[in-house]
């Protein structure tokens, strides 16, 4: 027999359980708002209630940045050569085809030419879904070719980053992609061709410490995590909790490393306005 008897009604949860049929609905991880697929598209994959920017792929980003149908992709099938025959718990040679199958992409970056409000541009957009958006030889070479194209055609360059950093499985070659891309950007700068860097959630490690931070104009999406070391590593090093908002876009704006934080809805118009001054 129970010692106590509940005198009132059972406690009921305020929120009702809502079933989410596959693919049609998406729940915001921040505020819990449930958003229909069509609405998600209208809001360029941000939460209409709290404004959280969801991670999107290069295809979606290109759609919201470029004039419709203007994008011409280059080197779409370039893939890693596994130069080190790298093996950890699994062979890198096996990881690559798995990632290709899972994402439908060949590596973590797509580049090509296109137009923003009728202006010719060269764009490169990263895909976080492909091995954490990590930069290996393919990302480095594609960025490098995008810069070469911008240089040759005197078109402004736009790079949209989202990356966990350099790709471990290509060792020092991945590290050297930082130098390679930055060296090419030096040449672009000498030719006085504008480069706009857009950082999305998350942009960390070797990508931040090379092309992402080297824009003539550095823009980030609201709330994006941007840094060199990951928050977990820093927390371990200093042995203290990190302050609220640390390494977020607004924090970087405050500390002088970004020109602006721009909502995805406003990104195209903002980039276009900047280019009207710089080119």
């Amino acid at each position: 027999m129970a010692w106590f008897k509940r005198s009132k009604e059972n406690i009921e949860s305020e929120t009702q359980r809502r079933e989410l049929p596959d693919g049609q609905w998406r729940k915001c991880d921040q505020c819990g708002e449930i958003i229909h697929k069509t609405e998600l598209g209208q809001h360029v994959y941000t939460c209409p209630k709290c404004g959280t920017h969801f991670r999107i792929g290069s295809k979606e980003y290109i759609n919201c940045l470029l004039d419709e149908g203007s994008f011409k992709e280059q080197d779409s099938k370039m893939r890693s050569a596994d130069p080190l025959k790298f093996t950890d718990t699994k062979k890198y040679r096996e990881r690559i085809p798995e990632a290709i199958k899972k994402t439908g992409l060949y590596d973590a970056l797509r580049w090509g030419t296109g137009k923003i409000e009728k202006k010719n541009v060269v764009v490169a957009v990263m895909d976080f879904s492909f091995v954490g958006g990590s930069m290996g030889s393919v990302v480095g070479e594609k960025i490098s070719r995008a810069i070469d194209r911008a240089w040759k055609t005197k078109s402004p360059l736009i790079i949209v980053s989202s990356s966990g950093g350099a790709r471990m499985m290509e060792g020092a070659l991945s590290l050297m992609q930082m130098a390679k891309t930055s060296a090419k950007l030096a040449r672009l700068a000498e030719a006085r061709i504008p480069y706009i860097s857009i950082m999305t959630d998350p942009t960390t490690g070797g990508v931040t410490a090379s092309y992402a931070m080297l824009g003539d104009v550095n823009i980030a999406e609201p709330g994006a995590l941007i840094g060199f070391a990951g928050p977990r590593v820093i927390k371990q090093t200093i042995g203290k909790d990190l302050p609220q908002g640390f390494q977020r876009a607004e924090f970087l704006l405050e500390h002088g490393f970004l020109d602006m934080v721009v909502h995805r809805k406003e990104m195209k118009a903002t980039v276009s306005r900047i280019l009207s001054h710089l080119s």
């Binding site: 950890d88 070659l173 130098a179 060296a183 040449r187 931070m213 060199f228």
Partner: protein
């Protein structure tokens, strides 16, 4: 400070100690004969051990606490050294040393990571882990060298850029990125030498140049074997395997087309003979700088950019 002896060094050191002991009786011709025999054995043993070092053992040598550091090379290689301080923006970062000195008769700018030898000096130099201010000091000095047409030598030896809260606040990523870009277009010759640990962006932040060299027992990669183990194997226990997988030694990087040359170390490694190591490096640097001095700045920059543009391996 207690002498550090790595496991695989033990058989060599034991024989060497035996020779030392025997030298005390070396007037005896029989013993002198015996010493010669053992010396020969030591040399053979050393050669066979060092020919078969695993990648992890190279990492251990690169971290040997008695290895020469940047300031040791400066003391042993150059004259009239003047150290310069500060980034003119926030503070002087002691994890990176920079200043001008004479290599034989010509001035060079020497920049390098600096580790400490004991707790006190390690705290002073932050274990050779720079903050953004260190990279900005390095860049300021490189611009100064460019202004007066003085070549640059950088010495890489860091366990990584410091992953601290203030480092992030002051833009660790931006500082490193800026150096990569500016070093790519610095109009004077740059020679880069990995003298110990070349850990990731923290090393590369002063590592763009016309010639990239590694001392024989050093490592250079995108991540340390320990961190790689913790991420990919989810345990700190696989550092030996991670070192193998990363292929981070000087011969590995030569094969990958990243470095130009390997600088030989004295028998048993750089820590066994600082003077000899510094002499070898000095001669190598003089040769490199002499060759680079013949190239016009425009050509030099073009070649520098192309050098890095070639790095990588892809299909399609």
């Amino acid at each position: 400070m207690a002498k550090t002896i790595l496991d695989f060094e033990k058989p060599i050191i034991t024989l060497e100690e035996k020779i030392e002991e025997m030298r005390r009786y070396s007037e005896n011709p029989d013993i002198a004969q015996e010493i010669k025999k053992i010396e020969k054995r030591v040399n053979q043993l050393r050669q066979s051990i060092f020919a078969d070092l695993t990648r992890w053992q190279r990492v251990q040598l690169a971290r040997h606490p008695e290895r020469p550091y940047t300031l040791d090379y400066i003391n042993l290689m150059v004259t009239d050294f003047v150290e310069f301080h500060g980034d003119r923006a926030f503070r002087d970062d002691k994890a990176i040393i920079g200043g001008f000195g004479k290599l034989d008769s010509a001035s060079v700018l020497l920049i390098g990571h600096q580790k400490g030898r004991d707790t006190k000096s390690n705290l002073h130099h932050n274990f050779g882990m720079p903050n953004p201010d260190g990279y900005r000091k390095a860049l300021r000095l490189m611009k100064l060298a460019e202004k007066f047409n003085i070549p640059v030598v950088t010495l890489l030896d860091t366990p990584g850029a410091y992953p601290g809260l203030e480092a992030e606040e002051r833009g660790q990523a931006e500082a490193i990125a800026r150096n990569l870009l500016e070093m790519s277009r610095l109009r004077v010759p740059i020679v880069v030498v990995v003298i110990g640990e070349g850990a990731s962006g923290g090393a590369l932040g002063i590592g763009v140049g016309d010639r990239i060299l590694m001392l024989e027992n050093t490592w250079y990669s995108v991540i340390s074997p320990e961190s790689c183990s913790s991420i990919l194997w989810r345990s700190w226990e696989y550092k030996e395997q991670a070192a193998e997988a990363l292929q981070l030694t000087a011969p590995d990087l030569k094969k990958q087309g990243i470095i130009d040359d390997i600088v030989p170390e004295p028998p048993g490694g750089a820590h066994r003979n600082h003077e000899q190591m510094a002499k070898i490096l000095k001669d190598v640097l003089l040769g490199e700088l002499k060759d680079l001095a013949k190239i016009k700045p425009e050509k030099l920059l073009e070649r520098r950019i192309e050098k890095f543009a070639k790095m990588g391996a892809w299909v399609g």
